[in-house]
Amino acid sequence: EPEVTQTPSHQVTQMGQEVILRCVPISNHLYFYWYRQILGQKVEFLVSFYNNEISEKSEIFDDQFSVERPDGSNFTLKIRSTKLEDSAMYFCASKEGNEQYFGPGTRLTVT
């Protein structure tokens, strides 16, 4: 069964460093998303991406964040200068119809 994959599973970085989180969405899906979940809290929407552009972004998704679909399969989230409060699980999702399928997540730890 097709699934969304994410790498790395765990990323540790120092405050102020740039990180890139990678996702491979399900191949025939056209809509892609990033969500995050701070430990013990809700899953929060960050950004949606369709037709090679951002279709919606949340208040969390400020200028430090960017997304890219560099080729036909990868979808990346870049955080330019990480802060301690960026520590969270980051989930990529892709959509068919209204059903979203999530990847296993990348645990980002900012020290």
Binding site: Y33, Q41, V43, S48, S55, N98, E99, Q100, F102, G105
Partner: protein, 115 residues
């Protein structure tokens, strides 16, 4: 502001019983509502979607109801098993041409099924 509430207290039930989880929302008119399962340290796994014009949806041992007047969805697991122990998330999707597919999640209810 938009609010989605799920029972934050864990639900403990005996194996074989029916688990019923609740999702209430305010200040929102979703086009559809989805239920996900999340295990610790893992991503949400899609279970069921119900649209605003549907009252009930079933899939194997799962049943979802959606009452747009009460602004409430109920999620039932019949003949529950210890393997059903997990956190269950409800998520709302909005309607219309501005629908980018963004989901708004509740905080989840943890279900513990005891053998």
């Amino acid at each position: 502001s938009q609010k989605i509430e799920q029972n934050s207290e864990a639900l403990n039930i005996q194996e074989g019983k029916t688990a019923t989880l609740t999702c209430n929302y305010t200040n929102y008119s979703p086009a559809y509502l989805q239920w996900y399962r999340q295990d610790p340290g893992r991503g949400p796994v899609f279970l069921l979607l119900i649209r605003e014009n549907e009252k009930e949806k079933r899939k194997e041992r799962l049943k979802v109801t959606f009452d747009t007047t009460l602004k409430q969805s109920l999620f039932h697991i019949t003949a529950s098993q210890p393997a059903d122990s997990a956190t269950y998330l409800c998520a709302l999707g909005k309607r219309g041409s501005s629908n980018t597919g963004k989901l708004i999640f509740g905080q989840g209810t943890t279900l513990q099924v005891k053998p």
